[in-house]
Symmetry: D2
Subunit: 350 residues, 4 copies
């Protein structure tokens, strides 16, 4: 094994990134070095590439981004016991402190001192990535390589869908980015009986159709509130999964949820959102949840079980496969609004 | 409309029943008279027919049995507002008192003073049956007639499956009578990822296969505990639905449930069951639930949503269709162990 | 019994109300006529008196307001079975339809078609009030008359406090109106370990002290967020009960709740509230609940049990007792900000 | 610091134990050495001393028993960051593997591979005890030394009481050993409104009275089922905490729980328990929970919060204080049935 490797590097506090040679990470006693087979691109990576306001405050170059991937174990530290060289793995990239109140009470996904590999430390857009053993997720070889590379966002979807009752419920998903699209498959698999998707982008709506949503609605073309009211006996939907992070989508979420329903919020937005608390929340007796990351590690077990049982068909969401060296091309594809999940192959697409 | 009708009548405190003419029930201001289209036979009806120990203590002849059915509204009382003549309906046959602690706190399915139509009052094995409006369940015409006649036991299955977490869980069903068989379909529909059925009767195992259980096990032929341990990485199953009411099945339930799992008990047994509380319950930290009836009316909404979404294929369970006048033949079929759900047609099979 | 009675009447679509003679209500077969012993005044009654924008849209004069009271049964309809003449009673004044989805699934407190006695029909500021039997709550004679007259707002407090985990939790109450003050007593009784009250009005803060809140904070004088952070090891509070309905209090609620905590919203506001969803809700992984009314009838059982066990000392909240004919004086007292709960006696204070 | 220390040692596979000099434990990089201030005696220690059947299968002499204690940090391993020399601490003595399904899903208290310090490794009946940092619980100096030494069994009580709804509920505790007695205080603190204790031993009943149980019942003298039925309007109790582990007490638990209630089982028994599943569990729709250990570390936070808020008065339960060298005398006291919690002081009672 060479001591240098190819990686995407954010070298400067400015837009862009370079694909160049860097040193292979050195691992400690409790670390695992993973040879990356496939990595996938998240909206966060585009924020870093674009060097937007969020990135300027959070990112300290030089940094290798990338937090969605799968690969095989290349080397293990001396105290590692749960995986061995050659094992097929992915990883939870939120490294929790393990010592705060949240970590010690089963809520590590909202750890006060979390560090994210690929954001706060070098990530997976590289030939090798270093992961603490605690965060390694050993994969069943039966899970397809492509699916194994998108467990992070699939985990967001599973966490959101299963954050409350869902079986035999009607569900609306506002926003059909990759996580919204994954949520269609997850909600179907666990017994949601009517799935509405609300999405203004036609390209995304088309994929939502392929994911077998029951109703795919264009909010620019129809009165979504009225439509859903008609289809649900004037009740509204039991559950809204808000995955757009756009003020219009959030407004819709509150309009369409039924009395006593739940809204689970995943989509991030930096814009202030204005609500009428009495009418939107209190009289309706609804519950609103903030959803962050994936539960460690309940969500991973759930996701693995659903995948192994063949209950999730995610293929329509994977729209692009490219060599890691074409990273900038991938960024352009994302900006076009005509790509959903993009997979990167460190050693070229096979 | 004639004032007499054909009905199955338990006339005497002895085994057997007669099919004969009786008066059509008179309805009060808040009652609904339903013309029965299809009724289905429950194990309870066989107990009544056989006049076993339970029946001798509970039943006061003369009685028209039958508590699973669907039909159309033939007449309504003066204060009835939610259905009208001709509506397609079924009914919850547990008539709760509405005034006890359980009824006033959302637990009417375990009402202290419940009366069951078909057990404590004249039931549905007749051309007409009288039901209080509160218990009528108006059906979507899209629901097939045969399925509409088995909502009572299907509701037992839905109630049991959804009495705790089930999505992405492994599930074992002990006992493949009709409710156990329905539970396969329900558990699949709401995201159970491995479904084991344990059943000694070959005929029933064959139907369990048709219902698409993942593993159908004969406890006389294999070591069920060892088998399930092997298939679940030595963990055991997350959930056991006990639907046999047989001591061997109950013993198996405790053997195969994982630490922290749940056992939901539906199958009735008059035999004493002996457990080692320390090993079977406490060290494993499991939860055991007694399941009775169906939640009023959460279960009905859930069941209806699953049926309308086409998520349940129940056909393999319906093994016999016969004219109501052949009731005794139906009892013989049940006793043979080579029938599952038997449908009765008051006016002959069409 | 005379057929006329004294009552507070909102006669016109304008500010004010008259105390005058009206007819005693006639009851139907399922109604109960209650002789009012004590009624208490809610903020809603002041809205009606002031004839504000909300009242103009909701109220149809003539109307007898008043929805908090206790009394004795004066007469019962022919089908009433659960109370008899002379029984000591109060009532749930939200009359649910009993037929909508929410009513049939244990959520009658958010019924789609609820009518409120004292808002949509004649209420309890009168010598007699008519209540449907279903809504009558029979009281243990051991419960003091004064407490029996404030079960409606006490129920709001119990519902809010018990809407999630509370034992061994830290709790902040924003707004020390009567329901906020009652919530101190309830939270103490069920094991909250640190109770913060945030209230700008000095008079109310003094009562909060008497109710034994652990920390009573004036948001005009100190930095509440910093203070609570210091006292909670930089964690924030587990639970916020928002009972002010004021934008500043709501802002504070989101500032002080810990990651993974809950905010239960009861305080109504007509002003738009603006939030940063990412920072305020999603990254923190909090849960927000809209709380309306009282659970029928779980809250009533809980409240009764706590009162009978002597676990609630509510005396400091009851600041005024007056004859019903002095209703307008009561309105002035409320407007002064120097009164909390005002009790009205139809036949004079004894 | 000397390299030898005084300890209680189970030297042989036979009844008894010696108090003698042993080596002070050596600590590793992630360990903490604690100087024991006070240890307390559990029934398990008596099993080990008596060398009963359970002990013969589980214990491998030589062993220092003892798993309830508090003390100060005497030394820390090189990687320990959360405590320093002199800190006041106790510890969770269940050392979970951290890698099994239960550990990775927030259920470490039922870890498949748990090791218990004081049972499977040298414990706290010694001047010093070695604990992994992960299991150390840093204590607020405000918590009294005596209470700090009994957090393990107090944690059992807190875990059991809070394993379901308890506020405003009626509760029966079967068995008034130390954990049963602690449960009275905990249940009172979190809003249980009627607390029944059922205990045949008069000495224990007297302490239950001092702990302020509402009803202390002798099952040899009265008909407990009838008594509780009378006091609860024929309903039965909402919650039973079974802490006796005796067949009669378990029988009583099922007799007195109301329809829809919960039974939480903590008391261990090696005797087979026989139930009528239909009547005892299914028709009543009850929930039964096996309770093991304490939740890591939710229970510890809850316990600490209750103690710091002064909500628990546990003094009546602590009946004996003695020097550790008098260990055998302590065993005799326990056998007499006239002692409850016994505290041991390694360096003599002060």
């Amino acid at each position: 094994m060479s001591d240098s490797m190819l990686a995407v590097v954010k070298d400067e506090s400015a837009p862009g990134a370079h694909v160049r040679d860097v040193k292979v990470p050195e691992i400690g006693l409790t670390d695992v070095l993973v040879k990356v087979k496939v990595a996938s691109v998240c909206g966060t990576d585009l924020h870093i590439y674009n060097w937007d306001s969020w990135a300027q405050h959070r990112i300290h170059p030089p940094l290798i981004p990338g937090h969605e991937f799968c690969g095989t174990v290349a080397a293990i530290g001396g105290e590692v016991t749960t995986v061995k060289e050659g094992d097929f793995v992915s990883a939870e990239m939120h490294v929790a402190c393990g010592k705060c109140y949240q970590c010690r009470t089963g809520e590590a996904h909202i750890c006060q001192f979390v560090k994210i590999i690929g954001v706060d430390a070098d990530g997976a857009f590289a030939e090798y990535v270093k992961i603490p053993e605690s965060n390694i997720w050993k994969l069943d070889p039966a899970i397809p390589l492509e699916y194994a590379s998108i467990l992070d966002p699939l985990g967001n979807a599973v966490h959101t869908v299963l954050a409350g009752e869902i079986a035999a419920k009607t569900v609306a998903i506002t926003g059909a980015g990759p996580i919204g699209l994954f949520s269609i498959a997850v909600a179907r698999a666990v017994g949601a009986t009517k799935i509405f998707v609300i999405e203004p982008n036609e390209y995304r709506r088309r994929i939502a159709q392929q994911m077998k949503a029951d109703y795919v609605l264009d909010p620019k073309a129809i009165d979504v509130k009225q439509y859903i009211s008609d289809v649900t006996d004037n009740l509204g939907v039991d559950v809204v999964l808000e995955m757009a992070g756009h003020p219009d989508a959030i407004r819709t979420a509150f309009d369409i949820v039924r009395r006593g329903g739940r809204i689970s919020l995943l989509g991030l937005t930096s814009k202030p959102i204005s609500l009428n608390f009495s009418e939107d929340i209190i009289f309706k007796g609804i519950t609103i949840q903030g959803i962050n990351g994936r539960r460690m590690y309940q969500t991973w077990y759930q996701m693995q079980a659903l995948l192994k049982a063949g209950k999730l068909d995610l293929h329509p969401v994977i729209t692009d496969r490219m060599s890691m060296k074409d990273f900038s091309k991938g960024m352009d594809r994302l900006r076009s609004g005509e790509a959903s999940k993009i997979l990167l192959y460190p050693n070229g697409v096979k």
